[in-house]
């Protein structure tokens, strides 16, 4: 492969420095990233070697169980991972973490006075399938307050860390829920200037994929950069 990458699509990304999100003030770089005219190496487009994962890693209603089921609304979160040419990205590592149904993370620095759930860890992971699909079973997270400004509440969200074919397909993001009344007030969600672009972060309720007598389904399709990086096995027709 050659040196192809030539920068991120910044119009699709949040502003790096965003004063409404206070933590950016001392942490966001002040200088623009150096744009390269090629020169990196294969790491740009190489999927790291991920370990084999257990199926239960993707079921957050099971992987933290101690003596019973976690409390809250069980949901399915599923979607497809694709590149910007709409081709499936397979073998990508997808890791999620979230608050429990009452809006509390198990992280030890979390101080929000809401109950922990002894049967809910709040973290899971899977590798995307050959068609780019992924599927988690979890509990719908609660909203929680944070100290960014007066009466600041994070909309309910699930954190996603995705690592596909190399550096170009690294993405850390958050999935939100449709109809959440706190979305207009959240500086993190609103850090992406274009409304149509940031609305890509809102999952879609799917009645078709909702499992009867069992769980609502939310669909969250993810588009990664680096179409050039999506590997195809030699001999396959990839038109």
């Amino acid at each position: 492969m050659g040196d192809i990458r030539n920068g991120r699509s910044w119009s699709d990304m949040p502003d790096t420095s965003f004063p409404d999100y206070r933590s950016t003030s001392l942490r966001a770089p002040t200088q623009a990233p150096v744009r390269l005219d090629g020169g990196w190496d294969d790491a740009v487009a190489l999927t790291p070697l991920w370990p084999r994962l257990a199926d239960t890693d993707a079921d957050l209603t099971v992987n933290g169980r101690v003596n019973g089921d976690p409390i809250g609304e069980r949901i399915v979160v599923e979607g497809h991972l694709r590149d910007e040419a709409s081709r499936p990205v397979s073998g990508a590592l997808i890791e999620i973490w979230q608050a429990n149904a009452s809006g509390r993370y198990i992280h030890r620095e979390e101080i929000h006075p809401a109950p922990l759930d002894p049967n809910f860890l709040g973290a899971g992971r899977c590798l995307s399938n050959a068609d780019g699909s992924y599927r988690f079973i979890t509990i719908k997270p609660g909203s929680y307050p944070w100290g960014n400004h007066r009466n600041a509440w994070r909309p309910a969200h699930i954190h996603f860390s995705i690592f596909g074919a190399g550096l170009a397909q690294r993405l850390v993001t958050q999935m939100y829920f449709p109809g959440d009344p706190t979305l207009p007030y959240d500086p993190i969600f609103n850090s992406t200037p274009d409304a149509a672009v940031r609305n890509r972060l809102i999952s879609r309720f799917s009645m078709e994929e909702t499992v009867p007598e069992w769980a609502h389904c939310y669909k969250f399709d993810i588009t990664l950069a680096g179409a050039y990086a999506t590997p195809f096995e030699e001999g396959h027709d990839h038109g």
Binding site: S23, L36, L49, I188, R198
Partner: protein, 233 residues
């Protein structure tokens, strides 16, 4: 530490043998879908992404030891990898904010080639994966905030290229992750195609400092006079 049921095994995927991949030229592939925007990793990723380095009781699938050679007296030993070929290397450093305060909740990932300059493309007997993760502040509020990787010094990945380790940094307060590259002191960087594209006055931010035999320090400054060069990748 209790192992939670079902939370992962450490088996590396053997991937069923070597695959040959073809990478297409981006310019021949029209974009048909808008990208999913980035969002901050937030303050609470530790139990999900780096549970081991923060002491959370979950099976960890990423380690900070990329190859063997962990020193017997190293308190962070226990990677379980057999020693790989090459010169053993310890990389440590801190991530500083704009007030020069070390950051205790940064996610640091590294990617590197092996001692021969090859990226890992399939499971290897020496356990080398070329990828590592560390959460700073892993020793708690009273500990220090250094990240520490145990690895081997990478070889050059091509003619003219100087050996380097790629760093991906993300944390609360970063809405987009940052990518940088660590070079080694004493190497010849004059022909390196990435190093050469950095403004000369900022190049020193990319070169580690030797702090002992087989040990280098690479501090990352998010802001200020020593602001680290990040790349648009």
């Amino acid at each position: 530490m209790a192992d939670l049921p079902g939370f992962g095994s450490m088996d590396l995927d053997d991937r069923g043998g070597p695959h040959v991949f073809v990478y297409e030229d981006r310019r021949s592939v029209p974009a048909t879908a808008g990208l999913t925007p980035s969002q901050t990793v937030g303050p609470f990723f530790a139990y999900g992404l780096t549970p081991g380095t923060y002491g959370y009781p979950h099976a960890e699938i990423h380690r900070s030891e990329l190859a063997g050679g962990v020193q017997p007296d190293d308190p962070h030993a226990g990677g379980g990898y057999v020693p790989g070929a090459g010169t053993h290397l310890a990389v440590e450093g801190q991530v500083f904010d704009g007030a020069d305060v070390p950051i205790h909740d940064a996610l640091v990932e590294i990617i590197q080639a092996d001692a021969d300059g090859h990226h890992a493309r399939a499971r290897r007997n020496d356990g080398f994966t070329g990828y590592g993760r560390y959460g700073t502040g892993s020793e708690g509020p009273n500990g220090d905030t250094r990240f520490r990787f145990r690895t081997v010094k990478p070889g050059a990945t091509g003619p003219g290229r100087a050996p380097s380790i790629t760093f991906i940094i993300t944390m609360r307060g970063l809405l987009n992750h940052c990518i940088t590259r660590m070079y080694f002191p004493g190497d010849d960087h004059t022909a390196d195609p990435v190093f050469n594209q950095v403004p000369p006055e900022r190049r020193s931010t990319l070169v580690a400092t030797e702090i002992g035999p087989g040990r280098v320090r690479f501090d990352i400054h998010m802001q200020g006079e020593k602001e680290t060069v990040f790349f648009d990748l």
